[in-house]
Subunit: 97 residues, 4 copies
Amino acid sequence: MIVEVSVVPVGTGETSVSSYVRAAVQVIEETDLEYQVNSMGTCIQGEWDEIFSTLKAVHDELAKMGCNRIVTTVKVDDRRDKFGSMDAKVAALEERL
Amino acid sequence: MIVEVSVVPVGTGETSVSSYVRAAVQVIEETDLEYQVNSMGTCIQGEWDEIFSTLKAVHDELAKMGCNRIVTTVKVDDRRDKFGSMDAKVAALEERL
Amino acid sequence: MIVEVSVVPVGTGETSVSSYVRAAVQVIEETDLEYQVNSMGTCIQGEWDEIFSTLKAVHDELAKMGCNRIVTTVKVDDRRDKFGSMDAKVAALEERL
Amino acid sequence: MIVEVSVVPVGTGETSVSSYVRAAVQVIEETDLEYQVNSMGTCIQGEWDEIFSTLKAVHDELAKMGCNRIVTTVKVDDRRDKFGSMDAKVAALEERL
């Protein structure tokens, strides 16, 4: 399964959110999940339970940093007929562009 | 916490996805979670673990119906300073429009 | 076409964003577009150009209110085989639940 | 402004959507917009009007390929206090990880 996640801390008074996004990526880094950061989110490859318990840990970490409200967008690509890795998906696109 | 979820079955050959969306809503209906259906998704109010285990059950149900690929968008509004219900959020908007 | 839009002002220092969401809905209200507010976003029915020029006006309005950064999620359901209204989509779900 | 877009053709009967995603990226490639493909979407850097007229052209292209329904998710990061490029955003994250 591949998931893309993007967190937005609300009400922090800071237009830059990179310290929070770094903290979020750090939580993901401490798992065994494969992930890839892009300019609008982070793609994560793994199984449902581990991914969503990690995202819960991300929210808890941002709350600890003082965020009173976290708005997160998650997009799930759950393919059951075959395993499609993050790299394979990008390669499938690029080979014929 | 309030979450909005929207599921898109991919590769079913059907332009209408309402039978799948109905099955998804049925899975949510069988929990104790409060939810509200709109024309682009379903808003659910509850706690992280129950919401995401329910969404996993939704994916499993659609897979049982024959979906080989399910693309789901989840938006999480996790407010920690106070509890904001779905109804209160809409009421806060409407009272001054 | 049906679009759901959700705006998040970043860096305002306010955990409640309802004044900004109200302003956004007010911009939509001033058009001829049909719309329905829910607890996580606003669904809008109409044609591509009018919808996206309205969303641009929403961003400009929030910038005028002092938002230096606006993070917006838009989900587009562009059905070409038949016209599906917001009400018809919800009715199709509810009739068999 | 940076936008991430992800298109899902519905009702095509194909679990793999890479031919459609390739066509979408091809439409973007033919503009002057900077873009970066990742495993869950494509990030595009530019101004509102050019980006959204390009996304309209993407929908028209997929409809020409036979898609009767296209579900697209767009996330907009519209920062008005300074210009933040796609590369700068990723660099800001990586420098301290």
